[in-house]
């Protein structure tokens, strides 16, 4: 699905990530952890083509990102659902339309009226907030709306960057359960978080591997978590 081979990334000055090799197999569940500023978000962005590696190769769905055109990247993002820590929406449109936005932009507007959308809204518990605009939502509601938007296209991969960043413990548990459910439906999931207790709480429910970024490199964390 997503393959990184000796990837390095540097912002202007020093190298942030170096010699990263990583392979996300279909149906796998990975956590990505590390101190803040260690490059978790950068690694996520490399995984959905928002950044190009400064060295090495990133292959998304068997294609090198360097060979992708801008339209290829757009099409690729229909197969990769992304949830950001600070999820952004179209603030002038109601939540339901925001969640259905990926359908609209890919020319599948007809499906936006269907039952799938209301099922999805129900699944993330936002049925009653469907007509609210994003600025009216609480942090947890925004995260759930972002998750719903990320999965409405039924993507092969879900990338979640600190999805539990601004929500309380109960809500982060709920979000994690949604991600685990997605994984059980066969989606590849990668969750970046600095919250180790969240990882511990999840490990009992799902066969998850934990990747840790330390000293610009990535390691497979052991049982010490």
């Amino acid at each position: 699905m997503i393959e990184l081979e000796n990837v390095a990334y540097s912002y202007g000055g020093g190298e942030l990530l170096s010699d990263i090799s990583l392979k996300l197999a279909p149906g796998s569940f990975h956590f990505l952890t590390g101190p803040s500023g260690s490059g978790k978000t950068t690694l996520m962005k490399l995984c959905y083509g928002a950044l190009l590696p400064t060295a090495g190769h990133v292959r998304l769905f068997e294609r090198d990102v360097r060979t992708l055109t801008r339209d290829d990247v757009a099409l690729l993002r229909r197969r990769v659902g992304v949830v950001h820590q600070d999820c952004q929406f179209l603030d002038h449109l109601p939540v339901a339309e925001n969640i259905a936005l990926p359908l609209h932009v890919s020319g599948r507007s007809a499906e936006a009226q269907g039952e799938d959308l209301s099922d999805l809204m129900h699944w993330v518990g936002l049925t009653e907030r469907a007509t609210a605009t994003p600025p009216e939502l609480s942090g947890g509601e925004r995260q759930r709306a972002a998750l719903a938007r990320a999965v409405i296209m039924s993507p092969d991969v879900v990338l979640a960057d600190e999805p539990t960043g601004n929500v309380d413990w109960d809500m982060s548990q709920r979000l994690l359960r949604l991600l685990i459910e997605l994984n059980r439906m066969g989606k590849t999931v990668l969750v970046a978080t600095h919250d180790l207790s969240l990882i511990r709480a999840t490990k009992s429910h799902v066969q998850a591997r934990v990747l840790r970024i330390a000293n610009r490199r990535i390691q497979l964390a052991g049982a010490d978590l």
Partner: protein, 299 residues
Amino acid sequence: MQFIFKRLMHSDAQADRVVPPSGFTAQLTLFAAGSMAFLAVFALALSLAAGRLATQWGEELARSATIRIAAPDEQQQAQTNAALRILETTKGVAQARALSDEEQAALLAPWFGSELQLDALPVPRLIEVIETSDGMDAAGLRLRLAAEVPGAVLDDHSRWRGPLVQAASRLRLLGWASIILIAAVTAAMVTLAANAALAANAQVIAVLRLVGATDDYIAHAFIRRFTLRALIGAAAGMVLGMIAVLFMPRGGDETASFLTGLGFQGVHWLVPLLIPPLAAAVAFAATRLAARRTLEGLS
């Protein structure tokens, strides 16, 4: 043109909704497009009227000339007849006719009053020459007249016709240049407005990119908006401009007064109808370029 229209009609209403509505800037674009169209109508009227005058003057004046016979009284009739004979055999002369005393008196009346006794003055005889459309060889005619009719002076009007026709042609050129400038200013204005809109909607664009919208889709939301604004604004400006031209005071002989001839004639009334679609095309191209440039700078 058709391509643009098809593209505009193709995009669905949802694509339009992804960009938040913008009240004030939208009205500014409408206003600017309207003003430009209004000015374009006038520039067009000016160009077309000037062009009409240049052609008309050029044709009318080129095809008429005057021969003045200034000779002692007893020779005048003989010389006039001689000149008329020469003109009969001159190539390019359709018609030549000596003016009667009454006609000459009428010509002089504005200057000397109708009381004037023409007989009392040594008034030269005028011969009006109408040329064929091919024109005549004025220099050759002058030589022949000089040889056979010593008192004859040929005036083919070219001396004062030239600058007039030139001025009218130049005016027409300036009119067209103004129209091109108006189009360029419209493009610049739409580009500025589109850039402002793209900058103000950076978050919208980022969200759309994230959920898999192609550049085309994103650009189109902006293009459609600005093209429609330019079209509507220009249509309103054009209608107002045409009403203003319609109510321009007119009258008198068009060749006599340039000002009363300013306006459209016949099928030329249809030409301003091209302004709104052209404004839309300019807005389409300008927004497309601005959107492409902005989007290519984003991840």
